[in-house]
């Protein structure tokens, strides 16, 4: 019963041992801390970088040019914005040189609200990331996918964004990661003892990794989390869990909601999304980034362009309010990003709309 943080850590361990990952670095990524969310504890290729995001992204790109595989972390996506031109450069290098340069690098960064992180620990990055062509972009919603998507990124010859929904990092998975102890309270304790760094002095501690195996979630493939025939909810990250709960609630009333976890934001699984919309005739796109120039707007546009005459109701986007940040107070955060009740209401509204 690994948490998402543990799952990512195990994926990185697998990457160090089997996929030639030579450097994992960022602010407080190396010992003693192993990352502000514990994601890089106990790994052997980790080190602490200067507090310099531009240097971190530049270093990752340079390593990629040298064909040395690396994972670089931006501690919170709220602090990635001063690196945009370097990220653009990473996304552009293969294209600008007409195919000369592979760019095998992964940038991982925690994203989103949900933990009362206030203005500078709640930003989303999906709208901006999807404005940077050349990257492949993933965001897991559960521990197993977190593991499998990380392995996919580590094998890529292109730059990847690995967006970590920070509200889910401590959430335990329901499906086992190949090699992890049994999904029981006992197994959970066992895993913790094996791979979580102890409190206090860690200088002599070494993790004991389970017998990890290759489990890759193919980039570009979504997942139907709940099957339904009345309305499709397309989302990713922590809103997959919320949409799933909405689907479970509405199912009792006979409203069948299909929930798609995109898993990859770019290049995305249009085949799955469009097939689902063709089936349900109704669609809601959900994410928590600000609603203006939002990635969901692109998906919505494509749904309109390609499926307009098959729709039985207006396609809808639920996204974060277009405000500069997420306010700290409960009421402010709740009013800023889509909640359970918003998704539920949107589903009901769409279904009640006349065909």
């Amino acid at each position: 019963m690994a948490s998402m943080a543990q799952a990512i850590r195990m994926a990185l361990a697998y990457g160090e041992q089997n996929l030639g990952i030579e450097h994992i670095f960022g602010e407080d990524v190396g010992p003693p801390l192993g990352g502000v969310f514990t994601v890089t504890q106990g790994l052997t290729k980790t080190w602490n970088a200067p507090l310099d995001e531009r240097g971190i992204v530049g270093a990752a790109l340079g390593l990629a040019y040298a064909n040395v595989r690396c994972v670089a972390e931006i501690q919170f996506c709220d602090y990635i914005y001063n690196t945009i031109d370097l990220l653009k450069l990473a996304g552009m290098s293969c294209w600008a040189t007409n195919g000369d340069w592979p760019v095998p690098m992964t940038i991982m960064t925690p994203v989103g609200a949900g933990i009362r992180g206030s203005i500078y620990h709640s930003h989303s990055f999906d709208a901006t990331a999807t404005h940077i062509p050349g990257f492949k972009i993933v965001m897991p919603s559960n521990a197993l996918d977190a593991y499998g998507l990380m392995l996919a990124c580590l094998k890529e010859n292109n730059p990847t964004f690995y967006l970590k929904p920070k509200a889910l990092l401590r959430v335990e998975g329901e499906e086992p990661i190949p090699g992890e102890p049994p999904l029981t309270p006992e197994g959970r304790k066992q895993l913790k003892a094996m791979i979580d760094a102890p409190l206090g002095d860690r200088s002599k501690w070494k993790p004991q990794w389970p017998a990890l195996t290759d489990y890759t979630v193919e980039i570009g493939k979504g997942k139907i989390v709940r099957e339904g025939s009345h309305v499709t909810v397309v989302t990713y990250g922590r809103h997959v869990l919320i949409a799933r709960d909405v689907a479970d609630k509405l199912r009792d009333e006979g409203i069948l909601v299909e929930v798609i976890d995109m898993r990859t934001l770019w290049p995305y699984d249009w085949e799955m999304i469009s097939a689902s919309i063709r089936k349900t005739k109704r669609v809601i796109f959900v994410n928590e980034d600000t609603e203006v120039s939002n990635f969901g707007e692109h998906l919505l546009r494509r749904a309109v362009d390609e499926l307009f005459y098959e729709l039985h109701a207006r396609p809808k986007l639920l996204a974060g309010a277009f405000v500069p940040g997420i306010g700290l107070s409960d009421n402010l955060e709740i009013a800023s990003v889509p909640q359970f009740s918003d998704i539920e209401k949107a589903c009901r509204d769409l279904i009640s709309e006349l065909a």
């Binding site: 310099d52 790109l61 340079g62 040019y65 040298a66 293969c94 294209w95 600008a96 290049p267």
Partner: protein, 332 residues
């Protein structure tokens, strides 16, 4: 001859450097002419940096992979590329943005090189980002037993950007010093802005001192001084596996770019003219030999320019090619 210039380099080497400087100058003048004749949309390049960049390119350990030098260049680096063996016609191709342009397939401006086989990472118009990517190849080459070094160059105004500071900081971290030769070719201007109005530091290279980084400031208009300074700096970085900051004072002989007219600037020192006068006085080359050389390259590049005009433009349906490595065509 009484006031004859005395060189330290062998005549053979002087002739090689001179040949390269003439070749670079004539190439840039051909590129400028192409721009002016509507055979290119924009020109920016390296006339005025030949005396420094030629000797630099000749001393690069050229090849692919960590045991060879990585180059993170700016847009005035044609002499370095020619010294390494780049074909002049390929520069013409990029200027004309034809499909046969080997550096970008007609996608980028002239003098924006990229050559993976020689560790020349993509030149980007973004000022100073090369000092950030240099950190990465520097880290890769800090690995034990590695023989290559990382070389990065850029102008003086750009050193105000954060990446320049990043490079100083990252290359001198006590836990992992990096084998990076940081070069600033200082032409005293950023487009129209005189450096003296924006920089309080006496010399850019002084910034190395705070980090314990070795430095030198040299006359980049003097090919011999450049040759030895580059050699010393490279030897140091190669053997000590530590950074070095080399500032070379150079001229900007055709202004910033075509945006400022790309006309010859008579009041700055012309390194090629000075060098030729010295070579003549020392009896290394005659005026006729030097004039003939210039004419030879002129005729060659004129012909090549004609050839390039016949070559195909990239087709609009290729725009999606290579967004990802090895991918062709529309992928979404």
């Amino acid at each position: 001859m009484k006031n004859a210039k005395k060189f330290k380099l062998e005549p053979k080497q002087l002739i090689r450097i001179h040949d390269l400087m003439v070749k670079s100058r004539v190439l840039e003048e051909r590129l400028i002419r192409m721009y002016k004749q509507n055979d290119g949309y924009f020109w920016i390049g390296g006339p005025g940096e030949e005396a420094f960049s030629g000797p630099l390119g000749l001393q690069v350990k050229k090849g692919k992979g960590l045991d060879f030098d990585f180059l993170h260049l700016h847009y005035r680096s044609s002499p370095i590329m020619l010294a390494m063996g780049a074909e002049p016609i390929d520069s013409l191709r990029q200027m004309k943005n034809v499909a046969t342009d080997p550096y970008s397939g007609g996608r980028n401006f002239g003098n924006h090189y990229s050559k993976r086989d020689w560790n020349v990472v993509p030149v980007s118009s973004t000022i100073e980002t090369q000092y950030a990517t240099a950190i990465g190849t520097g880290i890769a080459q800090a690995k034990k037993g590695c023989k290559g070094i990382t070389i990065v160059n850029g102008g003086d105004a750009g050193t105000a950007e954060g990446e320049f500071a990043s490079c100083l900081i990252w290359s001198s971290r006590p836990v992992m010093p990096l084998p990076i030769l940081m070069i600033v070719t200082n032409n005293s201007y950023g487009i129209s802005t005189p450096a003296a109005t924006q920089h309080g530091e006496k010399q850019i290279a002084d910034r190395a001192t705070a980090f314990g980084i070795k430095k030198a400031v040299i006359d980049g208009n003097n090919p011999e001084e450049s040759w030895f300074a580059i050699k010393d700096a490279m030897d140091y970085v190669r053997t000590e596996r530590k950074p070095f900051l080399l500032e070379a004072k150079v001229s900007r002989l055709y202004g910033h770019s075509s945006a400022s007219g790309a006309n010859f600037v008579a009041d700055e020192q012309d390194c090629l003219a000075t060098f030729e006068a010295d070579l003549e006085s020392a009896g290394v080359l005659t005026r006729k030999e030097m004039t003939d050389l210039r004419e030879k390259y002129n005729a060659e590049f004129l012909e090549q320019g004609k050839q390039v005009k016949q070559e195909p433009m990239p087709s609009g349906d290729t725009i999606y090619d290579h967004v990802y490595y090895g991918q062709k065509g529309r992928y979404w």
